[in-house]
Point group: C2
Chain length 463, copies 2
């Protein structure tokens, strides 16, 4: 945990945004795998973590604006629980760590809220079914009525606050990116033709666990890099394959790293792989140097798409006026997603609170219809302290190529005949994590091989 | 997956237990971690896996007894889903793998059940909140009314069938135990004073992942072995510590392994550790040789408790008539849990269906009040094909010692003065997995060092 003053200050800043009502925070429960008591590793809700820092299941808290009170709700351990789990801190001691002086048994939360009848109870959108059931019970709402009743002012206040990372948060995010870089280095070092994706993914996962943390999201480690969220690790690496590794660590305090590298299964990139790789790398570099306060991420995204399109033109895959092509989304045959997203306590920071609030504004709405743009999670102007990813890529998806070709989609911009030669090429992505500074940007974590030469050097040394 | 005939035969056997009604099976959904789309690794529901074998989220199935039909409900992939997840089999192809010829969109399940109004819809106890919400919707029940409406005949039929493992299941369970043995061997080889529990747990986890599977339950790897379900891995090993490793692999098909070893952080056990270890090992051996069809596991449990009590008497910690002591539960100060449990697709097999059905009978009810006995998951007579664990231990829990001593509990059987010397001893457990054969038992998997000499030899070789 951070020092208690950090949590006190965060809550004070939040409370300052409200003139009345109760802010309700539900911590997460254990998440059952194949029966109630066989659970996945516990992950606290990120907003609860941000304002209270306590990493135990079964907690809730309120900030009562009218009464100027903060109360932590939870239950003390029974002797049976001590036998099974070991003695832990009392609820009061846990609360004290977070600078809270009032604690109350879990059963009192319902009473508190019922007594507050008539006053507004603000709550955030639940993403776990357990929380939905609990909220519906506490607030006497039907499950189907919950989403209409979430508090938009609460969402906006939390998003505004969590979007700008403090110095202690940046130190944690640096740590997450550092461990993530180690996860990538080991993959680049050990991968060999004949090895299974599973074996490499297991080694990558081990680095995250060894650091005392977890994964910030399921590992994508695949020789089929064009399948964007591929969690299958059953393929065997072959000479000539590209290995795409998209993986990141979550620190013990819950902060995420999110890096991607693509490297040859053999010692070196093939010539056509090198060409495509350098197109992606150039788009990445173009995007990164654009980062500074005031720049809209949407414009950075266009810049990286245009750079990709220029590269694709040099390969003969695209043609015509590329600015028009990118504006209309023709490049999305090869780059179907966004250039990046906010990151913090969540790898897609605050995605539970809604992309429209985290990545866009009232004036700049998300384009939810255009293929490609509809997957861009961040569009709005950057501010100092924002942490985000930059991750352009090129993906050759046979099913999509066939679909577009059949309907002659964007044929003024795409040379479908030339595309055929790439249909089994796979995918390439590079990705790093950045914080926006007062006059530009700083890369989080530490250096990790990214140019063709650097990647091949790591491979050569390890072989 | 097994061959489709395996699933066809299993469903036929189950259907044969019912004369009318509909058997409803809900597959599991993805389980969100910190936002909806950032999920834990997918784990299919074990009963769904047993009868249908399909490892994808979002599925349901019915066996309609009256109409003699099996239908798989699910949705086909959209092009968007193909872009993100890669092309997968059609629903019809997945169904065919499981020997099912009828498929239907998910939305049709509700219609099917509503049309069946008046006929009995049998369902099993849900353990995930998503399933509870879905069941309540489908069956027009309140969430709180679900548990009273579960089908006991359905539970009993599934338990009877899943309890007896077939040859193909035993092959998978052997594989799970083999990988689990490798997980334990690496821990014994790499652990050194000065190393963190995290580092060893990460290496153990890696072995499970590298095999293409997962963990069958969260790793317990601790120098505080007396905390029974300790998932904290932050301690640093010291010379003189005992390391307790309770961990197991889940195969890609979902079958569990569950092994425990306790070994010295240094090269050798201390003399008093060796003595206590041999007491546990002897109790384990006594229990194992009792295994055969017809023997009540409750009696095996008593035998292992009595053996532990005799050992504790030899150390001077217990006294008096030990059979009486064990019958009354005095030994439970040092052994607070059960000697073992059923294992299969779940590490505690079918725990979601209810311990009273899995581990006990109408005649032999579980003792739910006596400390120790109330944690024994299996009591009933064994049958050929049952797979189970044998895992006695000794645990010195300071809080429990203080509580019992203060109230003079069982002081005719316990030498509290002598116990004091052991209050910081920690805990010891050994555990292997067995199948009950026609005339006795067979250990699953492969050999793994278990005697003091064998464990010290592994340590000596690796140092």
């Amino acid at each position: 945990m951070f020092h208690k003053n950090e949590y006190i200050a965060r809550r004070k800043q939040l409370a300052g945004q409200f003139s009345s009502g109760i802010l309700l925070f539900l911590g997460n429960e254990e998440s059952p795998m194949n029966f109630l008591d066989n659970t996945y590793h516990f992950r606290q809700d990120s907003t609860f973590l941000y304002y209270f820092g306590i990493q135990d299941p079964g907690l809730a808290a309120i900030i009562d604006i009218d009464e100027d009170k903060v109360i932590l709700f939870g239950n003390e351990m029974s002797m049976d629980a001590i036998v099974w789990m070991g003695r832990q801190k009392t609820l009061a001691a846990k609360a004290d760590d977070a600078g809270i002086t009032s604690v109350s048994p879990s059963s009192q939360l319902e009473t508190y809220l019922k007594t507050a009848k008539g006053r507004k109870v603000h709550f955030l959108p639940p993403y776990r079914a357990e929380s939905k059931i609990k909220l519906a019970d506490l607030l006497d709402l039907k499950l189907n009525d919950l989403s209409a009743a979430v508090s938009v002012p609460f969402i906006k206040a939390v998003v505004a606050q969590r979007s700008v990372k403090s110095a202690v948060e940046l130190a944690e995010l640096d740590k997450a990116s550092e461990v993530s870089a180690d996860m990538h280095l080991i993959a680049m070092q050990i991968a060999r033709p004949g090895m299974s994706e599973n074996e490499i993914a297991a080694a990558v996962h081990q680095v995250a666990l060894k650091s005392g943390g977890q994964l910030s999201y399921p590992i994508i480690l695949t020789v089929q890099g064009h399948i964007l969220h591929n969690h299958y690790h059953g393929n065997i690496l072959k000479e000539g394959d590209l290995v795409l590794n998209d993986s990141g660590a979550e620190t013990a305090m819950g902060y995420a790293g999110d890096l991607t590298r693509t490297f040859p299964a053999g010692k070196k990139f093939l010539p056509e792989q090198k060409d495509a790789y350098n197109i992606v790398l150039h788009a990445y570099q173009e995007a990164v140097k654009t980062l500074k306060p005031g720049v809209r991420y949407l414009d950075l995204h266009y810049k990286s798409c245009l750079s990709l399109a220029e590269g694709l033109k040099s390969l003969g895959l695209m043609k015509g006026n590329l600015e028009d092509a990118v504006a209309q989304g023709a490049h999305a045959l090869f780059f179907q997603c966004g250039t990046g997203h906010m990151m913090g306590l969540d790898v897609h920071d605050m995605e539970d609170l809604g992309e429209q609030y985290v990545g866009y504004t009232h004036e700049l709405k998300k384009n939810t219809t255009q293929f490609g743009l509809k997957s861009l999670r961040l569009g709005k102007a950057l501010e100092e302290g924002y942490v985000l990813t930059v991750e352009p890529g090129l993906y050759f998806i046979p099913e999509l190529i066939d679909q577009w070709k059949e309907s002659n989609q964007f044929s003024e911009y795409i040379n479908y005949d030339k595309v055929e030669a790439y249909r089994n090429f796979g995918g390439i992505r590079v990705e790093d994590d950045y914080v926006v500074t007062s006059d530009g940007f700083r890369k989080l974590g530490k250096d990790l091989a990214i140019t063709v030469e650097e990647v091949e050097e790591v491979r050569a040394k390890a072989y």
